[in-house]
Every structure is written in structure tokens, then in C-alpha cells.
């Protein structure tokens, strides 16, 4: 039983260490912060960032977003 658990652990360890950890110099902390959020259940972050992005777009384009959506809606 202990051997089986150990073998599972080794398999999992090899899987996880298959790709080297990501480093980005001074941006490593920022990268790790962002990726930690999107590894599991990223939807609250996606929606939050989308709302902020759309509000910024609304601030820039104003009523022009109606035209943008008209173009997108006919884009399929």
C-alpha cells in the first residue's frame, strides 16, 4: 500500500516537474500571482477583468460601443 502511494507520488512528481518552473526576472512574482489565479476556477477573475476592460472601453468610446457590438454581432 505504501509502495503504491509512493509510486503515485513519484509519477505525479515527474508529471509536475516535466516543464521547468517559469522565471521572468523582476516580473516573476507578478507572473506567479497572475497564473495562480487562473490555474483553478479562473472565472471570477475573467469576469472581473472583463468588466473593468469594458468600462474603460465605454469611457473611451461612449455610445460608440453600440456600433462595435453591431459589427461583432454580424461577425459570425
Amino acid at each position: 500500500m505504501a509502495d503504491l502511494t509512493y509510486q503515485k507520488f513519484v509519477r505525479r512528481w515527474e508529471e509536475v516537474t516535466d516543464i521547468p518552473p517559469q522565471t521572468l526576472g523582476p516580473l516573476t512574482t507578478l507572473y506567479k500571482t497572475v497564473t495562480r489565479r487562473i490555474k483553478t476556477m479562473p472565472w471570477p477573475w475573467y469576469v472581473g477583468i472583463s468588466i473593468v476592460a469594458v468600462l474603460i472601453l465605454f469611457g473611451l468610446l461612449g455610445q460608440g460601443i453600440a456600433r462595435l457590438v453591431t459589427i461583432l454581432q454580424a461577425g459570425f
Binding site: E15, I19, Q22, I38, M41, P42, S50, Q63, V69
Partner: protein, 207 residues
């Protein structure tokens, strides 16, 4: 195993993967690249075919079998060529950077990035029927526009994440190399998108 058992097994794997892409994309992509099976592509194909059928009905807006089939085939060719070109770009760029690349693995991983795309196109086609454009600048029109943009942006972030994970696990690329692969692929995919636009197949690129 007989064909039915294989199909059921692949179907279960596909369903588990789709749920995983929603809840645990990072782990799921690791599994797709290491344990994914080509049979799962059949289910992605079925999902795309459902969309092509709906889009053909909406676009042609008449029960004319020839026109419907023609539109269906054009959409299918557009998506197959886009997926194939995207995979080739990633594989070629990966090989240029001397990374170990498997075409099959990248193709499977990239095919799963089509799920957010097909969801957006599916929703847009339905909304085209339910709330046809043009959008107005009334309160209701603006509210819908804002909601539609939030929905689109949310799916876009999901798509970007899955695309990045394709490069990260498919090529075992670090962020820098992934960025180089994306930059090398961008002009080719832009040219493909322009061609699709000019041909009237996809105004928004189906990538």
C-alpha cells in the same frame, strides 16, 4: 475493445476534459498533452458541426439544401484550414526554436482551444436571431452592448489562457519562447483571417 467501447471511452474523456477546462485549465491541459487521445477530436468535430448547421440556417435564412450545404462546407473548410494552419505555425516556430514538438499533441491541444471560440460564435448566432443588430443607443441597447462585450471579453481571456497553455505544455516553452512562437504565427494567422474576411466566410476570425 470494440468501436462502441472506444467511442464511449473517448466521449467520457472529452466530457471530463471540457469540465476540466472550465474548472482547472492548467491541470487539464497537462493531461491533454500527455494522455489526450485522437478520438476526442471526433467530439470537437461534432460540436463544430452543430454550430456550422445553426450558422448556415441563420445566414442562408431559407430551406435551400444546396445553399445550406454550400455554407456548411465553407464554414467547415474555414475552421479546418484555420486549425491546421495554426498548428503548423506553432510546430514550425517550435522547431525553429529547437523545441521538441509533436504535431499530433499540438493539434489536439489547439483543437480544445476552439471550445471558447465555438461557444462565442454559437451565442452570437443565437443572439443574431433573438436580438438582431443594429444595436441602438437607448438604455436597453447600451445595457445589452455592455453585457455582450463583457461576455465576449470573458471568453477571450479563456481562449488566451488555453492558447498559452497549448504552447506551455505542447512545446514545453517558457513565457519568452511562447511569445516568440505567437509573434512568428501572428502574421500568417492575420493573412488567413484577412482571406476569410474577404471570402465572406468569417468576419471575426474563427481561431
Amino acid at each position: 475493445m470494440d468501436a462502441v467501447s472506444v467511442m464511449v471511452s473517448d466521449g467520457i474523456a472529452f466530457s471530463r476534459t471540457v469540465v476540466g477546462l472550465v474548472t482547472r485549465p492548467y491541470e487539464t491541459y497537462r493531461r491533454i498533452v500527455t494522455h489526450g487521445k485522437a478520438g476526442e477530436l471526433v467530439f470537437i468535430g461534432v460540436l463544430l458541426s452543430v454550430y456550422f448547421s445553426l450558422a448556415s440556417l441563420v445566414k442562408v435564412a431559407a430551406f435551400r439544401p444546396f445553399l445550406l450545404t454550400q455554407h456548411f462546407l465553407l464554414l467547415a473548410m474555414g475552421v479546418v484550414s484555420g486549425t491546421f494552419i495554426s498548428t503548423c505555425c506553432i510546430v514550425i516556430a517550435g522547431r525553429m526554436l529547437k523545441m521538441s514538438v509533436s504535431f499530433e499533441r499540438i493539434f489536439l491541444a489547439w483543437s480544445y482551444t476552439l471550445i471558447p471560440t465555438v461557444l462565442w460564435f454559437f451565442a452570437t448566432s443565437l443572439l443574431f436571431v433573438l436580438l438582431p443588430p443594429p444595436r441602438t443607443t437607448s438604455v436597453a441597447g447600451m445595457a445589452f452592448s455592455l453585457l455582450f462585450l463583457v461576455f465576449s471579453a470573458t471568453l477571450l481571456w479563456w481562449k488566451v489562457t488555453l492558447s498559452y497553455l497549448t504552447l506551455r505544455f505542447g512545446l514545453k516553452a517558457d513565457f519568452g519562447k511562447g511569445l516568440i512562437v505567437a509573434l512568428v504565427s501572428a502574421p500568417v494567422l492575420s493573412a488567413w483571417s484577412y482571406f476569410m474576411y474577404k471570402a465572406g466566410i468569417f468576419k471575426v476570425p474563427f481561431l
